[in-house]
């Protein structure tokens, strides 16, 4: 018991992960729970980013974790376990979508030209960051809706980079694209989200100012 608590408090330490993986390969299957525990949310949100549906995302997350368990012997130590697991999740989600929802409509923004320069549509001043508004469910819903309205290739990048905090290199590897594409799409995703959210945060969603006017919270 104390050993479990200690290792769970330091889930990010690579040597712990290596040791866990080795022990799982040697037959201590129950340790797999411990290995994936820090990544459960990441797996779910990756699937959700692609499928935009809770029930599908949960099914795919389960499939992906199960697949990782079954193929743990194929995992190569030169990659990070988290990147490998994310890759599996992305593949599972894409396969699921092709199989179950082949005719789903992609949002209009997906048809934008990726290589062209993106011009912000809105210059609303949104200086103050009302992080406290995240306590409000309707604000979280607005953010989720804005994200869902992006095309898949922007959504995936944004979720991996800015919500799961993967590096540019890891994101590129997980999606099988170049780091230059990651940077271009990430820029677009961030600017599109700003365009979608700035008017709301600049006015209607922030019913009262959180900080005195003209000051910054930092």
């Amino acid at each position: 018991m104390p050993e479990e608590v200690t290792s769970l408090e330091h889930p990010a330490k690579p040597f712990n992960e290596e040791m866990l993986i080795q022990r799982i390969r040697n037959g201590e299957h129950d340790l797999f729970y411990e290995l994936i525990r820090p990544y459960e949310r990441r797996v779910y949100s990756t699937a959700f980013a692609i499928l935009r549906n809770q029930a599908d995302a949960e099914d795919v997350a389960q499939e992906a974790v199960l697949k990782a368990f079954k193929h743990i012997r194929q995992f190569r130590a030169e990659a990070r376990f988290s990147t490998w697991l994310t890759q599996i999740t992305i593949n599972e989600a894409r396969m699921w979508r092709r199989k179950e929802h082949a005719n789903i409509m992609e949002p209009i923004v997906d048809r934008q030209d990726e290589e062209g320069n993106y011009t912000p549509r809105d210059f609303a001043d949104w200086r103050e960051i009302p992080l406290e508004t995240l306590e409000r469910k309707e604000v979280r819903q607005k953010l989720a809706d804005a994200l869902a309205s992006l095309g898949e290739k922007y959504r995936e990048i944004f979720v991996l980079r800015d919500m799961q905090h993967l590096s540019i290199e890891e994101t590129a590897k997980a999606l099988g694209i170049s780091t230059a594409s990651v940077k271009t799409r990430l820029l677009r995703a961030r600017l599109m989200l700003r365009d979608l959210l700035a008017p709301g945060f600049g006015g209607s969603w922030s019913s009262k100012p959180f900080f005195a006017k003209g000051t910054k919270p930092w």
Binding site: M1, E4, L8, H10, A12, P14, G27, H29, D30, Y33, R37, P38, Y39, E40, R41, R42, Y44, S45, Q54, E58, A61, Q62, V65, L66, F69, K70, N117, Y118, T119, P120, F123, D125, W126, R127, I129, L131, L134, E135, R140, L143, A144, L147, F158, R161, D162, M163, H165, S167, I168, E169, E170, K183, L186, L187, R190, L191, R194, L197, A198, W218
Partner: protein, 179 residues
């Protein structure tokens, strides 16, 4: 070096990620001083990164962990041999889940401690977005393997991280520790 609004928009992501060199950074900052539109775009983009980087945006359905464990248990080869074996595995899972909850609650209830021995770092771009975790002591670039906690991470500005007592990570922020 002088940069246009279009160039600023093109580099805004890299600027926030600390991925532009010193001369471009200086040129962007010079431009921002005189351009309200670009300042609005930068502020809004930073807010986007910060809002979505917050753990509260990372909701999973209620009971997700439990159902995932059950699904794994059903598919683990050793656990189907005997009823007793299954019970032991289930009990172990509950134990692991329980111990995690203990660890988690202790993280929440413990007052935040930062390292006494850390160096504050020099030349950290204050506008750069960095990742910190609730019970960590250092701030990181996204993707750093030294990020302590993968569940309770959030994205904040470097100046805020420094103000809260976080120190540059010895691995991913090494270049700010050379002094």
């Amino acid at each position: 070096m002088v940069v246009s609004c279009e160039e600023v928009w093109r580099e805004i992501s890299n600027y926030l990620d600390g991925e532009v060199d010193a001369s471009l950074r200086a040129a962007i900052e010079e431009h921002l001083r005189g351009c309200k539109h670009c300042t609005a775009v930068l502020d809004g983009t930073r807010n986007v990164v910060q809002l979505y980087g917050d753990e509260r945006m990372f909701e999973v359905p209620l009971g997700f962990s439990h159902r995932l464990r059950r699904r794994l248990e059903e598919n683990m080869p050793g656990n189907r041999r005997t009823f007793l074996g299954w019970m032991v595995a289930a009990a172990a899972a509950v134990l692991v889940a329980g111990s995690f909850e203990v660890a988690r609650s202790s993280v929440f209830s413990r007052p935040e401690l930062r390292s006494e021995h850390a160096q504050p770092g020099t030349g950290v771009p204050p506008d750069m977005m960095v990742v910190v975790s609730t019970d960590g002591k250092a701030f990181h670039a996204a993707g750093c393997p030294f990020i302590h906690d993968k569940v309770h991470n959030r994205t904040i500005q470097a100046r805020e991280a420094l103000r809260q007592g976080y120190a540059p990570c010895v691995r991913c922020m090494k270049k700010y520790l050379t002094a």
